[in-house]
């Protein structure tokens, strides 16, 4: 506990020497740390909700806009492609202006794009719209950055995991809420193609509201906002390019980007294809298919936080080596379950395997961001951006290669192949090595006391 003095603020939550919280108390709103947590996950939740509000209404939209299967597939890929660039840019933006300003600006700038759903009437406009809406997923990077700035290393995995996990529920909830909204509006005798346009007013209102809340109630750091800290801090001012290059030349950022592409990227792809898969292969009706797809997304509520908690527990006992081993293990099991999902022939067997798969693949995402905060302190934003962006690159690549409609093989073969690629692309985790903490197979090579400015102390 900090000794209260005239110049140092009192926190209602235990903090370390950097004033970062050492405990995670989700139901306590009095400290800036927990307020930041709730603002971060809630605003990201609204962005996920907006991005995934279109897929459940596709059966109506595709007839209204005269879309073909190719248009729908391209729009799905475009929605992830948009977020690749924005996540890369969000990293340095957080380093520069702070996560509060960066995330609120993004939420408030992309809300008008979702409002423009009211105007679209051609396939090209539809694809462009999904591309632009995908930009809002960059708020993932700002939320992870914000958590890493507010929470100490002993709970950062947990904070990152719970924030991202609860936010990801937005993608599942949208699959249930949007069709209900549409049906409700039609009860007022509104014609179908007007009803879905009206339904799309709701997600961006929610998104803009969360952006405003972040601006009004959030702060970048335990002690205040970025601009304020800059003037009083004794740290040397970092040039933008220094921070950027420092992050880009760190090989661990690239490896984590690749592995995240094959846990979170695979999760995004599955969100996009799973309803149609169950509808086509097992002949369930549309509502049931939507419910199954929603279950996959909503499992994030517990599975991703579990990944974060496991990472922190392994970190406590075995340091970074424990975090790396648990990440590799969980993601490998997820890959095996994905291979199995494509091979199961019964409906209930598939549902069971899909549920287990969702638990492991989402936990792997949580475990990844249990490692990211330790890669670089100076370029935390850039590393978070590279990893987050890698996630969506993985989604785009798997969708293009395995599920784009021009393939000769069936969806179930595509799913098994996706599992095999996961197993392959998880292997590079074995190559990650920290000189003062070691890697999966090697111990540390330098004394922890002789660290330089680039690395954290693992408290």
């Amino acid at each position: 506990m900090e000794v209260p003095s005239k110049t140092q603020p009192l926190f209602s939550i235990p903090v370390d020497s950097d004033h970062k919280a050492t405990e995670f108390k989700p139901f306590d709103l009095s400290s800036p740390h927990m307020r930041a947590f709730h603002l971060a996950w809630f605003s990201l939740f609204s962005c996920f909700f907006s991005t995934f509000s279109i897929p459940p209404l596709l059966p109506i939209i595709r007839d209204d806009l005269n879309l073909s299967d190719t248009d729908v597939g391209n729009a799905g890929i475009a929605s992830f492609a948009g977020s690749i660039f924005s996540r890369l840019a969000m990293g340095p933006a957080c380093d520069l202006v702070g996560p509060r300003m960066a995330s609120a600006t993004l939420s408030l700038l992309t809300a008008p794009v979702v409002f423009s759903v009211a105007f679209i009437s051609s396939p090209q406009a539809f694809i462009l719209l999904r591309f632009l809406i995908g930009f809002s997923l960059a708020n993932f990077v700002s939320s992870q950055f914000w958590m890493s700035s507010m929470f100490s290393s002993c709970v950062v995995g947990r904070a990152n995991g719970v924030a991202a996990g609860w936010a990801n529920v937005g993608s599942g909830l949208a699959q249930v809420v949007m069709p209900l909204l549409y049906t409700l509006i039609m009860r007022f005798n509104v014609q179908s193609s007007m009803a879905w346009r009206i339904a799309f007013i709701v997600p961006p209102i929610f998104q803009a509201a969360t952006g405003l809340m972040v601006l009004a109630f959030g702060q970048d750091l335990p002690d205040g906002n970025y601009k304020h800290r800059r003037r009083t801090s004794k740290e040397p001012k970092q040039k933008v390019f220094d921070v950027l290059f420092n992050g880009l030349k760190n090989y661990r950022g690239w490896i984590l980007g690749l592995t995240y592409g094959f846990c979170f990227g695979v999760e995004l792809t599955t969100d996009n294809i799973i309803a149609e898969y169950f509808y086509d292969r097992f002949n369930v009706n549309m509502d049931m298919a939507g419910l199954i797809a929603a279950t996959f997304g909503m499992a994030n509520c517990v599975s991703r936080p579990t990944g974060g908690v496991v990472s922190d527990e392994m970190g406590k006992r075995f340091g970074i080596r424990g975090r790396l081993w648990s990440l590799w293990l969980v993601q490998t099991v997820a890959g095996l379950l994905c291979v199995l999902l494509g091979r199961v022939n019964s409906l209930w067997g598939s549902i069971l395997v899909m549920c287990s798969f969702s638990l492991f693949v989402q936990a792997a995402s949580g475990l990844t961001f249990g490692v990211v905060p330790f890669v670089s302190k100076r370029s935390l934003g850039v590393i978070s951006g590279m990893t987050g962006s890698g996630g969506t690159v993985g989604a785009v690549v798997t969708q293009l290669l395995l599920f784009s409609g021009s393939n000769k093989f069936s969806t179930q073969t595509g799913i098994s192949l996706m599992g095999l690629t996961m197993l392959l692309c998880t292997l590079p985790i074995t190559l990650i090595y920290f000189p003062q903490w070691g890697g999966m197979f090697c111990g540390p090579s330098i004394e922890p006391d002789s660290i330089n400015d680039d690395y954290y102390l693992l408290v």
Binding site: L108, P112, S116, V117, S121, S193, L215
Partner: protein, 202 residues
């Protein structure tokens, strides 16, 4: 012995279940109905506004007892092949329970020879090219015969329907207002923060 009997019975039941779910094939149906519809070739109709008249009856060249089994008839709007291209959800399948060619029913009534029907095109019909097909059903509700306004390759006598776009001035206005609010409040916050910083400096 008893388990063998149980196995045979359950296998038989499963087979019957298969036929209950309409495993009927389109290629097994006889084309005995002559169907005509009011739209001319390539005419464009508006959903929710224009009306369509369809007439159907037994083909003149067939004997009078051919339609004894027909108890009801359903006349449907069906997608033309060029509106099915690259659209799996409109795919034609020989298995009638899986066929998605004809998704809109114009009329469903008890069968009688030389009937006609005039009705407004439903407002939910999307923009596409169509033809009209009539299915005759027996008393068990199974398809037994059909007739259509186009040829076997579905190339002739196709017409188009223009769907309702759903765009409306009120929705456009609401959308613009909310977007403007979102942008104005963002810049408002920027200005307030800049002003506070300037005040804190002084």
């Amino acid at each position: 012995m008893e388990s063998y009997y149980l196995l045979k019975t359950s296998l038989l039941l499963f087979c019957l279940v298969e036929t209950c779910y309409g495993g009927g094939l389109f290629s097994s149906l006889q084309q005995t109905l002559a169907v005509t519809a009011s739209p001319r070739e390539s005419q464009v109709l508006k959903a929710g506004e224009d009306s369509i008249t369809v007439t159907w009856g037994l083909n003149q060249s067939l004997g009078p007892g051919t339609d004894d089994l027909y108890k009801s008839v359903k006349v449907k709007l069906c997608y033309a092949p060029n509106s099915q291209v690259d659209r799996k959800w409109r795919k034609t399948s020989d298995n009638l329970s899986k066929d998605k060619t004809c998704q809109f029913t114009i009329v469903n009534k008890p069968y009688g020879n030389n009937q006609s029907f005039e009705g407004q095109i439903e407002r939910d019909v999307p923009t596409a090219a169509y033809f009209v097909r009539a299915y005759a059903y027996n008393s068990a509700g199974e398809e037994v015969a059909f007739g259509q306004t186009t040829d076997a390759k579905k190339k002739n006598n196709l017409f188009e329907i223009e769907g309702i776009s759903g765009r409306h001035m009120s929705i456009d206005t609401a959308s613009i207002c909310f977007s403007a609010f979102s942008l104005v409040s963002l810049f408002g916050f920027f200005l307030v923060e800049r002003r506070n910083r300037r005040l804190a400096k002084n």
